[in-house]
């Protein structure tokens, strides 16, 4: 047959991206600001995942009496080093002298965890960042003053201490991590629930859609904050309790866009074609419709993520968030508000929050650009 419209055959490239996604990746990279924000954010996030190796009151590796120890990972009882506590306090002069006498130990760059209280603060907490004081002042509380072997950089408070003499830098690192993890968990969980609900509504339509839509209207008109306060008064606050309560309400945000996308696409000709082939409902939803809805969902995701982080922070600020003592940016802001004479508290929280949220928004913008089929870059 000569009717073939001849096409040149390119041997198949086994790429993991189909051409549409490859173009989206190009578009994402073309937004320089978003692209760099993404990498900066990823570096910060991955670093913060290893916070225990960066800011901790335990050495990373210790060598004691011919044995290599990993105090970061393993809890050694203090009796191993001749002490009596159940958990070793490596910062106490007695233990550190003992270990240094019989071996060596390598500290993380910051020798404080988020809950470590600095007992060598020069004056009553909160204390200023060390670079605002001269060496005499900052080492004043050590037994030998400026000459003390423990008055080294790792024991300094880079961003000062809070009102309980805990290292702000360490609390910031851990607080950043918990904010992001909370945001991610909440976003992914609500996306999973919201997308499923929206998909079912949009695909089946009719009574299913009508009833669920009415339910969502009633559900989303609940005063979320008050319900949070009431539940927080009954249940002990914690990461998963908070996550659960906020998940109850946050999934609703996805339903609208996914439902609209499914309503639009369920009568696309290729969906009808699949139906005519006898493909099952769930396969159609998953293979043909979900990719359409994912565009809207993915575009939405970074903004929901920053929203979740802000919500957690504001709850912490009000004191209804994470349990007392946990590292949290909201709690840091609250301290900054109580201690206006110690501006490093408020400033740290402010810069952390604003940089983190800006990075996420920039990434979000780039994602939105990437999925915009009409966007062209010159």
């Amino acid at each position: 047959m000569s009717l073939v419209e001849t096409t040149t055959i390119i041997p198949p490239k086994k790429g993991w991206l189909n051409p549409t996604n490859r173009r989206r990746l190009e578009n994402f990279k073309a937004n320089r600001r978003g692209f760099w924000s993404f990498w900066i954010f990823m570096v910060l996030f991955v670093l913060s995942l290893f916070a225990e190796f960066i800011a901790n009151d335990k050495p990373v590796i210790a060598f004691y009496k011919g044995e290599i120890l990993f105090p970061v990972v393993v809890d050694y009882p203090e009796e191993k080093f001749g002490g009596f506590l159940a958990v070793t306090d490596y910062r106490s002069p007695f233990i550190s002298d003992e270990i240094n006498a019989n071996g060596w130990m390598v500290w993380p760059p910051i020798r404080y965890s988020y809950r470590t209280v600095n007992s060598e603060v020069p004056h009553s907490a909160p204390t200023a960042p060390f670079w605002l004081m001269d060496k005499e002042t900052r080492c004043a509380a050590y037994p030998l003053g400026a000459e003390d072997p423990n008055c080294v950089l790792g024991n300094m408070n880079w961003l000062g201490t809070d009102d309980q003499a805990r290292d702000v830098m360490a609390r910031m690192i851990y607080g950043f991590r918990i904010s992001i993890l909370f945001g991610l968990a909440l976003t992914l969980a609500s996306a999973a629930i919201g997308v499923t609900a929206g998909a079912v509504q949009g695909y089946f339509g009719g009574w299913t859609d009508l009833l669920m839509q009415r339910f969502i209207e009633i559900w989303s008109s609940m005063p979320v904050l008050y319900i949070l306060l009431i539940i927080a008064a009954i249940l002990p606050p914690g990461f998963f309790v908070l996550l659960g309560i906020m998940l109850l309400f946050s999934w609703v945000g996805f339903v609208g866009i996914v439902r609209a996308e499914f309503l639009r696409a369920r009568n696309f000709e290729y969906v009808n074609a699949a139906r005519a082939l006898g493909v099952g409902n769930w396969t159609i939803m998953f293979r043909h419709l979900l990719p359409n809805a994912m565009v809207a969902t993915l575009t939405f995701l970074p903004f929901i993520l920053s929203g979740s982080i802000t919500t957690l922070t504001s709850l912490d600020f009000l004191g209804f968030g994470m349990p007392p003592g946990s590292p949290s940016l909201g709690e840091l802001i609250a301290q900054g508000k109580r201690n206006l004479q110690a501006p490093w508290l408020g400033l740290t929280a402010f810069f952390t929050m604003s940089i983190m949220l800006s990075l996420l928004i920039f990434v979000g913008e780039a994602v939105r650009d990437a999925f915009d089929p009409r966007k062209t870059f010159r």
């Binding site: 009808n272 082939l277 010159r378």
Partner: protein
């Protein structure tokens, strides 16, 4: 310079380039043409040949700056529009040069009444307000042949039919007595009978107002009947230009010859009453209820399909023709059990009219559909191989991956595509190739019955003929039964050996295709044929406006 010799519009060396993602593509490559006063010039070519882009650049309506003009001059009445400022251009647009578009459904604002749409232009360019504007609007509506224009003033676009909307568009275009009308495929989205009426209207207006016209179309029939001169475009270049008679009688360029020879040809299979019956329908009805009142009681029905009987035998093609809204697609969907209907439907000996979706599933491999729009019917996210294999995964689960792959390759060969294309994605293919892929998706399951829902209407002329040939070859080879739904009588004539003419859900005429084409009995069928083959509007047929 006298009016008689200087052309009204003179396009010189016009090029249009588009930039995307750092790449530049030339859509129009140094074309030149003139339009004299009172002359109709047609730009003909297939989709992608650059004809619409050329027309839009006359008014500089392209999406600048992603579009640009590397070269060219557009002289209108001695003025160069290419270098004109935006305010100057605005005074020309809608005033001296106006444009009507292909899609009457979307080119009117759905929230404005007809009066408001038209008087907006009058107010903008002539400053007409109030009663004088209304009088002019009525005059215009009367001119374009809208009956009872007084009653139509407050109507909204959705209350009008496609033809009426296109008439309103034309009224808007005529409002300021333009010197040049650019018509971009003004009849493509309309039914054949309405198309004939619109063409007649445009011809009348041209002779009454002495307007010039730039007419863009892919339909050579229209050009021949309607235009004075014609420019044939392909791949951004004008390959041939001249008076219509010259081009049609003595085409010089190979592409023009190909275009002229691209009418669907060939004979449908012979009628054979002895073949086994594949699909039979008795008194098929699809009624959509109209509900009203607080309790949503059914007060009436929209009778989309109303009592249709049909019998389809193996190896035969039943053509279903009719205007849009006549229920032909609904009939096809009812037969393939994609919408619910009343009346007995029997498929390969089984009564399937009461089957549920899951009961139908085992039969779906033998009952296939090819849809109209080859751009919409292929999922953009799946490779060609995945698209074709989808049905195999449902119906022939026992196949291994290699067996499935070889079946896909076989199906692609059947439809005349290289099997190596199965790793590529639909967007890399042209419309005709995509339709072949859609046909391959149906063929891979070895069906007995294929419903073809306007499979050629979204394709270019030359490709149409190829797809028709392909369908006929496949039918002969596999003894397929086709239900061929189309409004294009030329294509139907080349494929169908039996015919049903539908109107308003009812069968107006049925019989062997040869007989119906040779001697149509019903008035409606006669009007349809006149419009389709001679582009003449026949009032006697009682065709809706």
């Amino acid at each position: 310079m006298s009016d008689a010799v200087t052309p009204l519009l003179s396009v010189r060396d016009l090029s249009v380039a588009f930039h995307q993602g750092g790449r530049e593509s030339l859509a129009v490559d140094r074309i030149s043409f003139d339009i004299g006063r009172g002359e109709i010039v047609a730009l003909v070519g297939e989709s992608g040949s650059g004809k619409s882009v050329s027309a839009a650049s006359v008014l500089k309506l392209l999406p600048y700056p992603s579009a640009s003009h590397p070269s060219g001059q557009i002289l209108f009445d001695g003025r160069d529009l290419m270098t004109a400022s935006e305010p100057e251009l605005r005074s020309v647009r809608g005033n001296d040069i106006t444009m009507i578009f292909q899609e009457p459904m979307t080119s009117l604002n759905p929230l404005h009444s007809i009066e408001r749409q038209i008087s907006e232009i009058l107010a903008l360019h002539q400053g007409l307000q109030g009663a004088s504007a209304r009088a002019r609007v009525l005059e215009l509506l009367h001119q374009v042949g809208i009956r009872e224009p007084e009653k139509r003033l407050t109507a909204f676009p959705h209350e009008l039919s496609g033809g009426q909307r296109q008439r309103v568009m034309i009224a808007m275009a005529l409002a300021n007595r333009p010197k040049l009308l650019i018509a971009d495929e003004p009849t493509t989205a309309l039914d054949v009978t309405v198309q004939a009426q619109i063409l007649e209207l445009l011809g009348r207006l041209k002779s009454e107002h002495g307007m010039s016209m730039l007419f863009i179309t892919h339909d050579l029939g229209i050009v021949r009947k309607f235009a004075d001169r014609v420019c044939v475009m392909t791949k951004g270049k004008i390959v041939e230009a001249g008076p219509v008679e010259d081009i049609f009688e003595r085409p010089q360029h190979a592409y023009t010859k190909k275009l002229l020879a691209s009418e669907p040809r060939g004979e449908p299979p012979l009628l054979d009453e002895t073949k086994p019956i594949v699909m039979q329908g008795e008194d098929i009805r699809v009624w959509f209820p109209i509900k009203a009142g607080f309790l949503r009681r059914t007060v009436d029905h929209v009778k989309a399909v109303d009592g249709v009987d049909l019998t389809l035998r193996a190896g035969q093609t039943l053509g279903v023709v009719g205007e849009s809204g006549s229920g032909k697609t609904t009939l096809g969907l009812a037969l393939s059990r994609l919408i619910s209907s009343k009346g007995r439907i029997s498929f390969i000996g089984k009564d399937i009219d009461a089957f549920s979706y899951s009961e139908m599933r085992p039969l779906r491999d033998r009952l296939q559909i090819v849809f109209q729009d080859p751009f919409g019917s292929l999922s953009p996210r799946m490779s060609v191989g995945e698209i074709i294999a989808e049905g195999l995964k449902v119906h022939e689960k026992q196949l291994t991956a290699e067996e499935r792959d070889s079946r896909v390759a076989w199906a692609l060969e059947e439809v005349g595509l290289d099997p190596a294309t199965r790793w590529r994605y639909p967007h890399e293919f042209s419309g005709g190739q995509r339709q072949r892929i859609a046909i391959a998706r149906a063929m891979v399951l070895k069906p007995r019955f294929v419903m073809l829902d306007e499979p050629t209407s979204a394709l270019d002329m030359t490709v149409q003929a190829q797809v028709v040939d392909l369908l006929r070859d496949l039918q002969a080879k596999h003894d397929l039964a086709y239900l061929f739904i189309s409004h294009d009588l030329k294509v139907v004539k080349a494929l169908a050996n039996e015919l049903i003419v539908m109107r308003g859900g009812k069968v107006v005429e049925k019989g062997p295709a040869a007989e119906v084409f040779a001697a149509p009995k019903a008035d409606y069928t006669r009007a349809l044929m006149a419009a389709a083959f001679k582009l003449e509007a026949v009032e006697a047929g009682g065709i809706r406006q």
